[in-house]
Symmetry: C3
């Protein structure tokens, strides 16, 4: 009996240890993979790239997210896989920095471009010609990422999803809505409420919160969205919490501006808030109550700017993608004053929990040193 | 008799001295206020913020301008006051640089946003819900000011009214013209002359010149506009002269492009010219005949660019605000060649007269030193 | 007989030597002109400015191009001459850097603005009032060039044709399509194919390739376009080859997106590709097979981005000018990775053949030095 319980507790400890190994940035994997077969390495790079969309960096989470996408729609899953593969390979061919490639930094823009091309296409699923712009667009992302990096680097800013936003807007403009080869749905500005305004359905609003997280990957089904949320949770519970919080804030912002109910229910008005909240609350800044408040402010700003940009770009039939969150996060990173004190240099950004732990250690050390100096 | 005249002349001298103390940047007040009650300090910061809109920096001028706004419309005056207060307080809370705050640099954008929200709102005056976006928008200006500063600082450029222009455009896009809570008038592009073109009325054109100065504060009444002009005159006669000159230039530019007569008469085609002219003629560059010519060129460019941007933004129902002047002044500050020799570093910009005096002194000293070296 | 053949061969050698003196950047002329009459110097500066449009820098090519423009339309030729003159003189007056002026860097933007104003004007030829905006626009280009240079210089980027693109868009916006003084044709978005789609005419497509080179100067006639191509050939055969290649790539991109046949036949869909291809293939990067491939990629990207921007700007009646090529070349210059290794610093860019020769020499020397060090 004692032995059994001891076995069980030892098993539990092992499982917990294994689980802990799978959370965060999984840095131990980098060393482990170094001398493995190149295809296996490529798979890990791509999976890291998949999670980079949600600002995470964990190959296991990437596998879960990819599974969620295949679950929601196999065609979308395929497009996403092609996108992340093509852009990672393009980065290899263009001779980009190898740490950037192995960290998945060249994969996520290509993946998003492919997913959005698939979602916005008005052709049916399995329209194989779509792979042409998907490959071309994903490859172009690498050019833009590589070109924007030295510009933004002057202020220690990441290129983040600027390449995706630029490429998808250019693609939609280039093809137009009634292109004979690559037709797509024009975007509707979310501005005005339908005149015969139906009442709000509370259950739909609650459902829209996890959907807002799923919409980061252009996924509008509840099950897969929850799986994506689980994948973020695996990387960092703090990030997952801020994702939900930001999505809820985005929904509130949408309500206050009386946007279309469809836009609320589908989670489309939530995902910019989620991204804005995640980036500030723990990722690029060490977590504290102050950063938490800034994260909520960032979520509100991202959500309102998203409505504004959607109305603007909607006049020419374009979606606002994640322009709002990208611009707002860039703004937050530039902020001087009390927020800047919590800023983590871009090169050292890791999982929020790691950032927090690292910060505490660092602060403890600097306090100890100060005391030491005081004594002397 | 002799005594009386001596008394009178002594009185005159005292009045003049007191008046001189009230002109320019009133730097002596900074020291004087340091140990005063915080609320009184805040009032001075806000009043400085009010004048910053016209590139001035003088709390007494600020009081006059605020009085002018309350005279034109009490509701607008209230909105302006709320705007400058909220954004200054936000800057304090966000821990911005204290010299910036006490110089009023965090107040003027918030004030402009509030005034424009009020003017463009299609709800009646005293629609109290408007205070919600006014507070939110004013607070956002501080975020933008703080975020843009490090970017523009690389080229020693001021953030000036970029935050105001961005926030007001985003607000108008976000709400749209038929928003149930915050409706507003769509802007009309000034492009085309009405077909049954009535003749120009000279007296209206002359009136439009001071109105162009008033329109910097979105004020379209002659009396308050003259009071605002007087407030600028108190700060610096050179600045007031360039304001009138720029407004006249803007009117001429409007005439040459055959814009709507309404746009001419209301002073709307003049205020960008005024701002462009003020910034170059004496403020950011020491005054000389050459800078004076550049100021006129800047006024023309600002006015034409304003017409162009009004036509562009008018297609989506947005006003061009002061984008044109802001962009043109930024361009002028970047200019290399003969104008750059007169450039004053942003940190040392003060009242034009002070700049000029300082420059003369500095040049006299350097000439003296050169002669000294020649002798030795 | 022997004497005659010797004479002949000596003559041939002399002709060849004289011809070689006329190719490339004609640097020897700089020294030769130094003490000549100022008007003659100005002519050479302007002629260099004319070729700068095609990224070349050779006064003789400039004369050929100007001849081609006068051949195509005397009015356009006159406008171009006025533009290049006015902007070069403005640069002299504004005290711009003298090496920049003598290299023609302040002339080409003004020339392009003038040519485009002429082409887009819906008034007839010889409408003398047009000279007013032509002069004003050309002068404004110098302001923009001088203001953008310090910003772009941080990343060692050229201001290239950004000023032209900005000024022409502002001019068109400012006047609007039914301006009583300066009317112009609104641009048509090339997006959608006409429904009664006629078949493609192969001969027209072949003709469109040299026309794409001519369209860089807004010239839509075959003869003058060939003369312009000849002028580029005189400067650098490599540049001329890439111009044709880029134009062909642009046509292919246009075909793949099903743009209007008119847009294809007139060469309008080719000129951005040509510019994008020329800049990367040999000019800003030393020629090699890798840069050649990048040049083709750049041509494709420029062409697609041009279609996208044409569709976007077409919604407000504006042409996309050369925004696409300018942005894409800027992006290519920012690229890190394998292309950056071939990058030539902006200050040292000369004719592609010279760059190539210089690079080989430099590499040979550095190899020799390395060997030397190895031996020691």
């Amino acid at each position: 009996m004692v032995e059994a319980s001891r076995n069980c507790s030892s098993l539990c400890r092992r499982v917990l240890k294994a689980l802990l190994l799978c959370t965060g940035d999984m840095e131990h994997l980098v060393k482990y993979m170094q001398d493995k077969f190149i295809v296996l390495q490529l798979v890990v790079w791509c999976l890291r790239g998949v999670t980079r969309v949600t600002l995470a960096n964990n190959p296991l989470s990437g596998a879960f997210i990819l599974a969620a996408l295949f679950w929601a729609s196999p065609w979308q899953g395929l497009l996403g896989t092609v996108g992340v593969l093509v852009s990672t390979l393009t980065a290899v061919i263009l001779g980009q920095d190898s740490t950037e490639i192995s960290g998945g930094l060249h994969g996520f823009n290509g993946m998003l471009v492919s997913l959005l091309m698939g979602v916005l296409s008005s052709a049916q699923d399995w329209y194989w010609w779509l792979l042409l712009p998907v490959c071309f667009g994903s490859a172009t992302c690498v050019f833009l990422y590589s070109g924007l990096s030295p510009v933004l680097d002057r202020w220690d800013l990441p290129a983040s999803v600027f390449p995706f936003n630029i490429v998808i807007v250019l693609y939609l403009l280039c093809t137009g809505s009634d292109n004979p080869y690559f037709p797509h749905h024009p975007a509707m500005p979310p501005g005005v409420l339908d005149p015969n305004g139906t009442n709000l359905i509370t259950i739909e609003l609650v459902r829209s919160i996890p959907l807002g997280v799923g919409q980061i990957f252009a996924c509008a089904a509840v099950g897969p969205s929850l799986l994506i949320l689980g994948a973020i949770l695996l990387y960092s519970p703090l990030l997952a919490f801020h994702a939900l919080l930001g999505s809820a804030v985005g929904m509130l912002a949408g309500l206050s501006m009386a946007v279309h109910h469809d836009s609320l229910y589908s989670g489309l008005s939530g995902f910019n808030g989620a991204l804005g909240c995640m980036a500030v609350g723990g990722l690029f800044f060490t977590f504290s109550w102050r950063t938490h408040l800034f994260a909520i402010a960032s979520a509100f700003l991202s959500a309102y700017v998203d409505i504004a940009l959607s109305n603007l770009l909607g006049t020419v039939g374009l979606p606002a993608c994640s322009w709002a969150a990208t611009l707002m996060v860039t703004l937050m990173l530039l902020l001087t004053g009390s927020l800047a004190a919590y800023r983590i240099p871009i090169g050292q950004v890791m999982a929020p929990e790691h950032n927090w732990h690292f910060r505490s250690q660092w602060e403890a050390r600097s306090t100890a040193e100060r005391e030491m100096t005081d004594v002397l």
